[in-house]
C-alpha cells in the first residue's frame, strides 16, 4: 500500500471523535458522503474570515478576491477532470441538480414524444426520477440496460437497445450499491455510433478514480463535492461546449444574464448562463481545496489503495456464514460492499454496529429498482475511502459476528 494512511487520517479532524464515550468512530459510509480534511474546512473558514463578498459584479478588494477564489476553484476542477476549458464546468448544488439541469434544459429542448432515453437498472434515483418526470410530461420512452446476476451491465442487451436509435444514454459510472465500475468509454463510444448523446452520473467515480472527460468523450458528466472530501451544497455539471452553448438557460435571475429589460433578457455566456443568483461561493472555495487535496495524494494511489482494501473486505465478509454479498468481484468494482445477513434486517445490522462506533448505511441507498431486481427491500452497505484501514474492516467483521449472536 503506497498510501500513508496514518498521516492521511490525521488530516481528518472527525477521526478524533468518539461516537459515545470510549467508542472511536469507524466511518464506513463514504459512498453517502465523505469526511473532510482540515485543508477543506480551513479554506472555507479562511474565506469567511478574510475574503467573504459577493462576486462578479463587485469592484472592491473583497469582491475581487472572492471572484478570483470562486473562479480559481473552477479552473482546478476543470483540470482535475481534464475539461478543455473551465467554462464547461457549471456549478450546481449536487449531482442530482446537474442531471436535472440536463433534463430541464437540454432534454426539453431536444426530446419529443417517442424519443428514447436509455438508462440502466442500477441507477440511483437521481438518474431515474428526472426522466420519469420528463416521460410524464413529454411522453419520451425509457429503456434500461439490464443488470446481470453478478452485478454487471448486460452490454449485449445494450447493443440491441441501440438499434432503436436512442437520443440519450444516461448511466452511472460506478454503482453506489454494487460498486460496479461500468465500462464508460465503451458505452459512450457505442452510444455515439448510434447517434445518441451521453450523460455520465459520476457521483461515485470522480471521487475515487481518475476521470478524464476528454478521453471518455462524454457529452455531460455530473458529480458532487461532498463525496470527494469537499463541502455540501455544491456539485458540477460538465458539458461539451457546443452543447452547453446551444442549450437554453435553466434558472433565471442575477448573474446568468447579459442584459435585462423590463420584458425580456439576453442570457450570459458560459458558465454563468447556468448559474443564477448568488452561488455557493464558500463551497466552491472548499471544492477547490478538496481537488487540491485529492491531487496531492494522487488519484491513482487512492484507487489502488481502495482496491486493496475492498479485496480484503470482500474476502473477510464472504467468510461470515449467512452473509450474501452483492456486486461483482473486487476486480470490477470500487470500494463498496453491500450485503444481507441471514434474516436480520439491514436496519438492525446497522444500528447494532453503530453501538460499536461502526457507521455503515442500511436501506435501498436510493436505488430501489435495483433492490427490487435482486428481490430484497434493503441491504447493508460498508464503503471505503482513502482514510479507511484493514483494521476497520476487521472491526466490521467482528461487529457482524456480534449481530449474528444477538439474533442467533
Amino acid at each position: 500500500m503506497s498510501l500513508d494512511v496514518g498521516s492521511i487520517r490525521k488530516q481528518f479532524p472527525i477521526f478524533q471523535r468518539e461516537t459515545s464515550p470510549g467508542v472511536p468512530l469507524i466511518y464506513l459510509d463514504s459512498t453517502a458522503t465523505s469526511q473532510k480534511p482540515i485543508a477543506v474546512i480551513e479554506a472555507m473558514n479562511e474565506y469567511y474570515r478574510r475574503s467573504n463578498a459577493n462576486i462578479h459584479r463587485g469592484v472592491h478588494t473583497l469582491a475581487e478576491e472572492a471572484t478570483a477564489m470562486y473562479e480559481g476553484a473552477r479552473e482546478k476542477i476543470a483540470k482535475f477532470i481534464n475539461a478543455p476549458s473551465a467554462k464547461q464546468v457549471i456549478y450546481t448544488r449536487n449531482t442530482t441538480e446537474s442531471i436535472n439541469l440536463v433534463a430541464y434544459s437540454w432534454a426539453r429542448a431536444n426530446l419529443k414524444a417517442g424519443d428514447l432515453v436509455i438508462l440502466t437498472e442500477m441507477e440511483h434515483h437521481s438518474n431515474l426520477v428526472p426522466w420519469h418526470m420528463l416521460q410524464a410530461e413529454r411522453g419520451i420512452e425509457l429503456e434500461f440496460i439490464p443488470v446481470t446476476e453478478d452485478g454487471l451491465l448486460d452490454l449485449s442487451a445494450y447493443k440491441t437497445l441501440l438499434n432503436r436509435t436512442p437520443k440519450l444514454v444516461s448511466f452511472t459510472h460506478m454503482s453506489n450499491v454494487l460498486g460496479t465500475i461500468n465500462p464508460a468509454g465503451e458505452i459512450i463510444r457505442l452510444a455515439h455510433e448510434a447517434g445518441a448523446m451521453t450523460l455520465v452520473d459520476a457521483a461515485q467515480s470522480v471521487p475515487h478514480l481518475k476521470v478524464d472527460v476528454q478521453a471518455l468523450d462524454v457529452d455531460f458528466l455530473a458529480f458532487s463535492a461532498h463525496k470527494m472530501c469537499g463541502p455540501t451544497g455544491i456539485g458540477v455539471l460538465y458539458g461539451k461546449k457546443d452543447l452547453l452553448e446551444a442549450m437554453p438557460p435553466f434558472l433565471g435571475g442575477g448573474d446568468m444574464i447579459k442584459e435585462v429589460k423590463l420584458r425580456s433578457f439576453r442570457a450570459n455566456s458560459l458558465p454563468h448562463k447556468f448559474e443564477a443568483g448568488t452561488p455557493a461561493i464558500a463551497e466552491a472555495v472548499g471544492f477547490g481545496a478538496a481537488v487540491d487535496y485529492l491531487s496531492s495524494v494522487g488519484m491513482d494511489a487512492i484507487s489502488a489503495y481502495e482496491h486493496e482494501l475492498t479485496e480484503y473486505a470482500l474476502e473477510r465478509l464472504i467468510e461470515i456464514p449467512g452473509v450474501r454479498l452483492f456486486g461483482p468481484d473486487a476486480e470490477k468494482k470500487g470500494g463498496v460492499a453491500s450485503f444481507v445477513l441471514d434474516s436480520v434486517h439491514p436496519h438492525d445490522v446497522a444500528q447494532i454496529l453503530d453501538k460499536g462506533g461502526i457507521a455503515i448505511r442500511a436501506g435501498h441507498h436510493c436505488a430501489q429498482p435495483l433492490h427490487e431486481k435482486f428481490g430484497i427491500p434493503a441491504t447493508s452497505r460498508a464503503s471505503f475511502y482513502l482514510y479507511n484501514t484493514k483494521e476497520e474492516v476487521d472491526l466490521l467483521v467482528n461487529g457482524i459476528y456480534k449481530v449474528k449472536e444477538l439474533f442467533g
Binding site: 438492525d348 447494532i352 427491500p377 434493503a378 439474533f407
Partner: protein, 131 residues
C-alpha cells in the same frame, strides 16, 4: 448493545404473540415504510361497545418495527377505540424502553401509524398521526 436491543425487543421480534390476520375483521389497514421496505398490516375485530375484541399484525421488517407492532397489538386488546385513537408515540417508546433516532423512530411508529389510520378510517396514513 443491550440498551438498544433490550431483551423484550428481541423476544417480541423472534416470538411475536400477535402475528396473524383476522378474518372476518371490522378494521383493516396496511402501509409500508419506504425507507426500508418495512410492511405492517393490522386487522381488528371490535365488539358492541366499540372496544377492540381482538387484533393481529402481519408484515415484515426490522426488529424494531416488528417488536413495536407486537407490543402495540398486545396493549390495545380490550381497549375502547376512542382510547386507541389517543395513543401517541410516547406509548410506543415507553413499551420499547429505548431512545431512537429519527430514522429508527419511523420504524418504531409504523404500526401505530397503520393502527390509527385504520381506526380513524382514513384513506392514507400520514406521519402527522403519530407526532
Amino acid at each position: 448493545m443491550d440498551d438498544l436491543y433490550r431483551e423484550v425487543i428481541i423476544e417480541h421480534y423472534k416470538n411475536p404473540g400477535y402475528r396473524g390476520h383476522l378474518d372476518p375483521h371490522d378494521i383493516q389497514f396496511e402501509d409500508n415504510n419506504p425507507l426500508c421496505g418495512d410492511h405492517i398490516e393490522i386487522t381488528i375485530q371490535t365488539d358492541e361497545n366499540e372496544k377492540v375484541a381482538d387484533a393481529r399484525f402481519d408484515g415484515h421488517g426490522c426488529a424494531i418495527s416488528q417488536a413495536s407492532a407486537d407490543l402495540l397489538i398486545e396493549s390495545i386488546i380490550g381497549k375502547p377505540l376512542d382510547e386507541v385513537k389517543q395513543l401517541n408515540k410516547d406509548h410506543i417508546l415507553e413499551m420499547l424502553g429505548i431512545e431512537l433516532g429519527p430514522v429508527r423512530l419511523k420504524c418504531a411508529l409504523l404500526s401505530l401509524k397503520v393502527l390509527k389510520a385504520g381506526v380513524y378510517g382514513l384513506g392514507e396514513a400520514s406521519d402527522d398521526l403519530v407526532e
